[in-house]
Subunit: 631 residues, 2 copies
Amino acid sequence: MRFDLSGQIHGFAGQLLRVNLSSGKISKEPLDLDVARRLLGGKGYAAYVLYNELRPGIDPLGPENKLVFMTGPLTGTPAPLGNRFCVCTKSPLTGAWLDSHCGGSWGPELKWAGYDGVIVEGVASRPVYVSVDNEDVRINDASWLWGSDTFSTERILKDRHGSRGIPRVAGIGPAGEKLALVASVISEVRAAGRGGAGAVMGSKKLKAIVVRGDAKKPEDLVADPKAFGDAVKKAHGKTGEDFRTSVRKRGGLVIMGTANIVDGINEAGGWPTRNFQTGMFEHVLDVDGMVFTQKLWVPPESPGRRPCWNCTILCAHLGIVKEGRWAGTVTEGPEYETLWAYGPQCGVGSREAIARADYLSDYYGIDTISVGNTIGFLMECYEKGLISREETDGLDLRFGNADAMVEAVEKTGQLSGNLGRLIAMGSKKAAEKIGSGSDRFAIHVKGMEFPAYEPRAGQGMGLAYAKSDRGACHLRPWPAGAEMLGWDGKDPRTTEGKAKWIKDNTEDVASAFDSSGLCLFISFAINADDVYDMLAPATGFSGFTNAEFKRIGERINNLTRAFNVREGFSRKDDTLPYRQLNEPLPVGPCKGAVVRLDEMLPEYYLFCGWDSEGRPTAAKLKELGLDFAIG
Amino acid sequence: MRFDLSGQIHGFAGQLLRVNLSSGKISKEPLDLDVARRLLGGKGYAAYVLYNELRPGIDPLGPENKLVFMTGPLTGTPAPLGNRFCVCTKSPLTGAWLDSHCGGSWGPELKWAGYDGVIVEGVASRPVYVSVDNEDVRINDASWLWGSDTFSTERILKDRHGSRGIPRVAGIGPAGEKLALVASVISEVRAAGRGGAGAVMGSKKLKAIVVRGDAKKPEDLVADPKAFGDAVKKAHGKTGEDFRTSVRKRGGLVIMGTANIVDGINEAGGWPTRNFQTGMFEHVLDVDGMVFTQKLWVPPESPGRRPCWNCTILCAHLGIVKEGRWAGTVTEGPEYETLWAYGPQCGVGSREAIARADYLSDYYGIDTISVGNTIGFLMECYEKGLISREETDGLDLRFGNADAMVEAVEKTGQLSGNLGRLIAMGSKKAAEKIGSGSDRFAIHVKGMEFPAYEPRAGQGMGLAYAKSDRGACHLRPWPAGAEMLGWDGKDPRTTEGKAKWIKDNTEDVASAFDSSGLCLFISFAINADDVYDMLAPATGFSGFTNAEFKRIGERINNLTRAFNVREGFSRKDDTLPYRQLNEPLPVGPCKGAVVRLDEMLPEYYLFCGWDSEGRPTAAKLKELGLDFAIG
């Protein structure tokens, strides 16, 4: 498929950086506009690069794996919430496709420096960091910085490169260096958290990428400023009205951040507690959004909140622990997922302990979801006598032991002791090591740990987890609002109609949003049509139709699926843990439910145009213009 | 005394900021050039302000106290090491005069913004921070930031004010907020550490001062560029030759930082160990400069070192703990004083524990010298049974217990438990609380704890501690090089000639250096004449002679002495602890010695032109042009 492209590039910077750490070669290559038309940026473009450049079966932590840091066409433009970048690679946690997304200011800065993305190849002979200052791109020695926590890494590198405004840093902490499979990439105290992209950076001995750019201005990125301005105005209008995103109306995200949904998810029986043994937490009122707002976070109106670049919905919250053992701890968050992972998942109702664990996770660079989930899993193992106190390095790892939970997080960040190393490998590999049937309650898909939604309290969520390209992910799509919070009135107990709903109305849309460079949270207020209305005048793509934009999501999902199929994944991997498929949920409106995956998965494959093993058919790939991915 | 002043101001910015936190009034006032001629900047100018504006007998933590942040005329000029500012106030730790100095980049930035200093008055009704961006000066709400550690404070405020280059922050952590008498002011991971200036900031509810400036350029600050350039070149030549400061010759400060003197001081029997019970540490080789260089710090040639602005001797070292319990800890240091305070003073030979304690001290904003000294004091109390394990909150506070030492530092930063609150009041007040004769081995002068030199191993050091304006200080003057390291061949055991040497050749010179804005460490390589050669063309003061410059130090020392006399200090306070005066030093070349203070102090007073009670005579004050200070 070829599009008619005008000479001038808009939306995109038009250029990619390629950095080979083995040879030290740095090259700049034009963005392939044909690919950009078909897959946009972000995850979509990166999938094209990695599908074509990675040999199947490679070791994710070996020299052949690559890392793609990628922005979307709306990243760094004046589009509200246009601040995302993603890190894509073959995941060391799952062995599958991985895209992990992050806000802040790094993505826009990269775009302004003149690049849509950075492709990192090879392995450096000693630790390095890459610095990008507009045209000036270098590989710098970082032996001296190796071992440093992420806060110090940012501080020190900003200071070194900050003569003309504050540069932005994306980097790893000690956990990534030591190849923890749950290591994240941290930027501006935000995380591209999931799937172990931090370990891939560590394997390449890449400590950080520092970016400063002013070669391009946000306004100048846009092809048709008038039409774009109108669409942005419309988007602002909608975000200003929605009960979740409106600052004026003191929306849920504004006041309580992502934690605004805690009470609702708990009431739906969908708040996984004590390693998913139940779905309601008895201490929910100690850790819900309102109590964090009242007791830990700076006030909603405070200038202390530090939103991502050009964010208008302000979900980010700054927390300061004022009293007790962890007084002085400052954390950006905790987010909904994090407060769940270190809260109910571990049976912990202490806000201060959760905040401390959140801080430590950022400090060492580890994924809060996978780490908290795995600690909860090990707590269940410990209480069941499957691991001894010796194996926990002396910690009394019972549910509810807040001190032990915090200590376990710290050990994970350091990979210290038996316990730290165990958690750092994630729940799947930990269960393999422990044996004794513990894999029945290791709560993951394809090796990636579940986040904070119990799928027995929402059948669509079960399908979403099972089939997701990167493993158990709550964002591709996020059916919880409709199924558990009643926002769009979907019955959580039924499987009927869920396959088509998941595929058409949510999953494809989520991928299209992600590849645009917008934060997914704007989808609370605007829909795919609104995104198209910004994208078309931003890029100036001629003949770029709304229908074509909507196909992009489907195209991306087929391409990452093809990537996984080539790696050996099939229907057997699109499944859920024993617990979710066999043990009835003990509480809540969906009491008694298990996930009836078999009622949805075959139907889902059908809607996708995939065969009974979950493989995209040649016809489907051809239809989507992905001929190169026909096996 | 009046000087003939030309209209154009050089060296100085020519303007002071005055910020009244009670009324919210911000005013700018011209620098008094007559005062600047007589006392230069920094400590000297601040002493003039505080002597004239503070009523005697006020509560240091009450609304009447003031804080003066002051630079010197060479701060921010191209003079090497011209980067210092000081924080001056009435000390809450001692009740006496306090000037506490700091490097980094904050001082130069303030000068470039157009101000020589900031005078802070009153008390804010709720937490605030002051922002200075050239002409634009504001008092901003900081309620949201209250409770934050110093690293987060810097990070968050830099991000908020960093659109045009990196602003510089000087602020306090939780300890200052909670009025710990050992609270420091932290800027760029450097400290204006001693005497509790951080508590004064806390009492005023002033979290930080953020500064960004480019109204003035370093070169433009200088009156006579040619003569100044020649003097700077000469200074560079000398620092490039000296065995301590030369980068080319891999000088001691360059390779090992201030820790380069550890072995020498220990061999002199002057390295206080286990609360000054002895003067040599058996684990010295685990914590000397060479082993820190080999095991903890980034290499001397590394780009990771972060010197102060325009520093050419590079004493600052970046330390990263790579293994063990505190792996991932990043610290700038530890300096000689810090590694002593948390090392031999507590009987601790673990580099990692010392580095961790250093980090925590910066994090919470507490003075490493006073805190480590006080912990050592309490360890002796604990071993002697004067405080119980209950009073240490369960810590086994024996000498050598590294974990307990680190925990005690953390508790101090938080003022948590009985132990944290006890340490936070410093050794003098802690001894008063403990009683039982513990004051005999509470090692302080005027309430300020000794640093890392045992005066029984150097009589001049004993006099220096006893008479110093701010309490036991090793820098006004620093006789250790001459007496203990043999650099200028002074017999440590004799008292003969020490009074005059301390006064004329070291003390007055140190004060003149300090008030110039230069870092004292350049005095290893250049002398007062060299400073004069830079100062005269920098300021362009007409008729400013070398002789006059040398008098400035004496003038400053008389003015701070007059300040203390007015506060009720006299000869009885110019003394040393019982231990130093009565218990013979058990080891080393000075084995058997006590400090024979009575052989030096009266003579010292005589050379100073002070009466037998240590009060400056009217004649002396008149001679120095300090008529206003005649009691």
